[in-house]
Symmetry: C2
Subunit: 452 residues, 2 copies
C-alpha cells in the first residue's frame, strides 16, 4: 500500500490515541464519526483492548453493524462481548441481508432468534435461503434486493415503474429482465434506459451476454470473472436459472483484498483474522504450532548433518561453509516456487507447459550454479588453500541449485494434487528439501574428496 | 485463487495447445475469439514464444489494443515486435484514452507520432494533459470521457439532454455537476435521475459527500479510498477543483491485484512483469542478482561461525545442532515481520502502538523460547548425554527467539524510515540477523560452557 494511505490511517490513529489519552470523550467521538465504517473498523483493530472499548462506545449506533462487518473475526467477538443483546439486534437490523448473513455465524443464538422474529417474512425467507449456501460462495455474497422488469414492456413503462418505486438498491447499474417463471434472461443498463427512445420495447435493448452466476460458484471464481470482464454487478441464479440476487463489485474488492492477505499471512503460518492484541498466552499457543512444525523439519536437516560427523570432526571448514550451500538453495528454490504458485493461480500451467518450465528452470539453475560455484569455490580456495574442499563446495552448490529448481517446479504441482494450497505450505517443505540436499551433497562430497 | 478458476483457465490453455498442435488455425481462432481480452492476455502469457505468435496472429484486430493493455511489460514488447506500425496504430486507436496513456510508453516513437496525428484535437489535448501526471497517479488512471450537467437545470432537462446525447461512457453511474468554471460541485446518480420527479432541480438532488480526487494522488491511495467507501467511480480534479476525468472501479480492481502480486513476487526478488518464457540467459542474469545479495548475507553468517572454530573442532555436536537455532529464529522472526508489515500497510502502527507490540512480541517469544528450549534441550541431553551442551542449546534458543521478535518489530520500522519497502527487503535482512545471532549465541555459549 502507498506511503500516503498508510500515513493517513496512521495519523488518524495518532490523533485518536491523543484524544483518548486526554480523557475527554467529546473529541474522540467527533473524530470517529467523520470516518467510514471500514476506517473505524481498521482503527478498532489497531487499538489495544481497553482503548478499543472506549472508541467502540462512542461509535454512532447506526454504524455499529457495518463496523462489525469490517473487522476480523477475533476483534468482532471482542466487540460483540461488550454489547448487550438489544444493541446487537439493533446493529444487525441496520444491515443489508448479504452483510447480515456474513455476520450471523458470530452472533449468540438468542440474538439470532430475536433477530429472525423481528424480520418480515420475505426477508427471513431470503436470509434462510442464503444460509443454505456454503460460506464463500456466490449464494452468500449476493444481495437478494434486485430490481427486475419483464421483456415485453416498453422503456416508458419501466421509467414510470421506477418513478413510482422510488429509491433503487445501492450500486444498481442494471435492471434484470425475467421470464414469467422468474428465469434470468438478460440485463438492461440504467444508462440505456436514460438514452433510449421511450417507445422501444425492453426486449430490443436487452443485453444477454452476461450469464447468470450459479449460486454455488466459489467466491474467488466470482472475483476472477468480475476482474476479467470489468463487471460492476452480476446476477446470481439457481440451477434452474431462476434469479436469486445480485453480487456487487464492492464485495468483490473485499474478496480480492482478503485473498491477498490470506496468502501473505498464511505463508508465515499466521491467521489473518487474529487480533493484533490477542492475549499473550493465546498468541503463544498459536505461534508454537508453526514453530513446532519447523522444529521437526530442522531436526531432519540436523539428522542429515549428524550422518557426516566424520568429516566435520576432521575438517572444521565444512561446518563453516555448509550453511552457505543450504541457504543459496533455499533462495533459488523459493524464487522458482513463487513463480510457479503465481502461474498456477493464474491457470498458466498445463502439462506441456510444466515440462518446458522445468527445462528452463534447470538450465537457469545450471548456469547460475556454475557461476556461483566458481565464485564461492574461488573464495574457499583463497581462505582455506584446499582445492578439494573448494571443489566439493562448488559442486554441492551446482547440485543444490538444480535440486532447488526441480523441487520449485514439482513441489507445488504435487501439493495441489494432494489438495494442499502450495502458497501456504510450499515454503516450509521446499526449504527442508534444499537444506537436507545442501548439507548432504556438500558433506557427502567432502567425505569422498577430503577423507580419502 | 480458487481451484476452479485455475482449472478453467488451465483447461482453456490445454484446449488451445491441442488446437495449435493440430496445425489448423480455424479451431485456434474460434477458441480465442470466445474469450475476453483479459483472458486472451493471460493465455498469451502462458505460451512459449513460438505458440504465442501463432495465437497472437489470430486474435481479432479489434481486441488487439485491449489485449496489449492486459499483459505484462515484457510479453507486451514481444507482441509489439511482431506487429507492423499500421497494425499498432489501429490497435491503439481502438483504446480508451486511459488505456492508451498506459500503453504509450511502450510504443515506438514513430508510432506515437502517427497516433497523435490521427487523433482529433480534443483527444490529443486530453492525452497530453494525462501524460503530465506521474505514472501510478490518479491523473494517469482517469478517463477524461465524463458526462457533466449544470446545477441550475431540472431533471427533465437532463433527461432530454441524455436522450439527445445517446450512449454514455462505460460504467457511468453518476453524472457530475459542475459550476460555470467547470469546478466539481457534486454528483447525481443515474438511479436518482430515473426515480426523481422530472420537475425537480438538479441542485436539490446533488450529492456533495464524495470529494474530488486530486490528480496527483498515488494509485494505491486511490484504491484505498474506493475500498473504504464502496465507490464505483470517482471524479478526478486539478488543484483548482476543476474536473479532469473519472476513475472507475475496474481500474481499481487491477491496481489491487497488481499490488498483491508485486508484494508476493518482490519478496522473492522477482519482477512480476517478467515473461515466464524469457530467454534463459536473461532469466539467469536476473536471478543471479538476488542470489548474489543472498550470498553476501550467507558469508556474513559463515564468518560468524568461523570465529568459533575452537568449539566446532572439539564438539562436533555443535555443528549438528547450530542450524536448528538459526532456523527457529528465522521462522519466529518472519512471523513477527509479516504481522508488522501488514499492520503498517493498514496504518495500524503508531508510536505508542509499536511499544505495546514490541512488549507483547517479546513476551510471546520468551514463552515460546522457554517451551522449545526445554524440548530441544531435552532431546540434546538424550542424544549427546551432555548437560552443558543441552543448556547452551536451550539458552541460545531463548536468546535467538527474543532477538527475532525484536528485529521483527524494529526492522520494518527502520526500513520504512530509510524509504525501503519492508515487504520487499525485510525477509533477507531479518534472516541474516537471526542466522548470525543464532550461530553466535549457540557457539558462544558452547565455548563458554564446554571449553572451560
Amino acid at each position: 500500500m502507498a506511503e500516503i494511505a498508510q500515513e493517513r490511517a496512521a495519523k488518524q490513529l495518532r490523533l485518536l490515541e491523543q484524544a483518548i489519552d486526554s480523557g475527554r470523550l467529546g473529541p474522540v467521538k467527533r473524530l470517529v464519526n467523520t470516518l467510514s465504517p471500514a476506517e473505524i473498523g481498521n482503527l478498532l483493530e489497531s487499538l489495544p483492548p481497553a482503548k478499543r472499548q472506549v472508541v467502540w462506545g462512542v461509535v454512532d449506533p447506526e454504524d455499529d453493524g457495518e463496523v462489525l462487518v469490517h473487522v476480523g473475526d477475533e476483534v468482532r467477538e471482542d466487540l460483540l462481548r461488550a454489547m448487550d443483546p438489544d444493541e446487537i439486534v439493533a446493529a444487525a437490523e441496520s444491515l443489508d441481508i448479504d452483510d447480515l448473513a456474513d455476520l450471523l455465524d458470530d452472533l449468540p443464538d438468542t440474538v439470532i432468534d430475536e433477530l429472525l422474529r423481528s424480520m418480515d417474512r420475505v426477508d427471513r425467507e431470503r436470509l434462510e435461503q442464503m444460509l443454505t449456501y456454503d460460506e464463500d460462495t456466490a449464494g452468500r455474497l449476493m444481495n437478494p434486493d434486485v430490481v427486475t422488469v419483464r421483456a415485453d414492456v416498453t422503456v416508458d413503462v419501466v421509467l414510470r415503474y421506477l418513478r413510482l418505486r422510488g429509491e433503487l438498491p445501492e450500486a444498481t447499474d442494471h435492471l434484470y429482465v425475467l421470464s414469467r417463471r422468474r428465469q434470468y434472461q438478460g440485463r438492461i443498463s440504467l444508462a440505456q434506459l436514460l438514452t433510449a427512445d421511450p417507445a422501444v420495447a425492453v426486449n430490443r435493448l436487452i443485453d444477454d451476454e452476461q450469464p447468470g452466476i450459479p449460486a454455488d460458484m466459489p467466491a474467488p471464481e466470482v472475483a476472477e470473472r468480475f476482474a476479467n470482464h470489468d463487471w460492476v454487478s452480476a446476477p446470481v441464479v439457481d440451477e434452474n436459472n431462476v434469479l436469486l440476487g445480485r453480487i456487487t463489485i464492492d464485495d468483490v474488492v473485499d474478496i480480492i483484498r482478503e485473498q491477498a492477505e490470506h496468502q501473505a499471512m498464511g505463508a508465515a503460518g499466521l491467521d489473518e483474522d487474529a487480533d493484533l492484541f490477542a492475549p499473550v498466552p493465546r498468541t503463544t499457543r498459536r505461534r508454537a504450532v508453526w514453530l513446532g512444525i519447523n522444529l521437526l523439519t530442522a531436526f531432519l536437516a540436523s539428522w542429515v548433518i549428524g550422518n557426516f560427523e566424520g568429516v566435520l570432526k576432521q575438517v572444521v571448514a565444512c561446518a563453516v561453509l555448509m550453511p552457505i550451500v543450504a541457504s543459496m538453495g533455499g533462495v533459488a528454490g523459493t524464487q522458482v516456487l513463487t513463480l510457479m504458485v503465481r502461474a498456477m493461480a493464474l491457470g498458466q500451467v498445463s502439462a506441456s507447459n510444466a515440462v518446458l518450465l522445468l527445462k528452463r528452470e534447470v538450465l537457469v539453475a545450471l548456469a547460475n550454479g556454475v557461476l556461483w560455484a566458481c565464485a564461492v569455490g574461488g573464495i574457499a580456495l583463497l581462505v582455506y588453500r584446499d582445492a578439494w574442499l573448494a571443489l566439493a563446495f562448488g559442486a554441492a552448490m551446482v547440485i543444490n541449485l538444480i535440486a532447488a529448481a526441480m523441487s520449485g517446479v514439482f513441489l507445488p504441482l504435487l501439493l495441489r494434487r494432494l489438495g494442499i494450497d502450495p502458497a501456504l505450505a510450499g515454503g516450509v517443505i521446499l526449504t527442508t528439501v534444499t537444506d537436507c540436499c545442501g548439507f548432504a551433497s556438500f558433506l557427502g562430497l567432502s567425505t569422498l574428496l577430503l577423507l580419502r
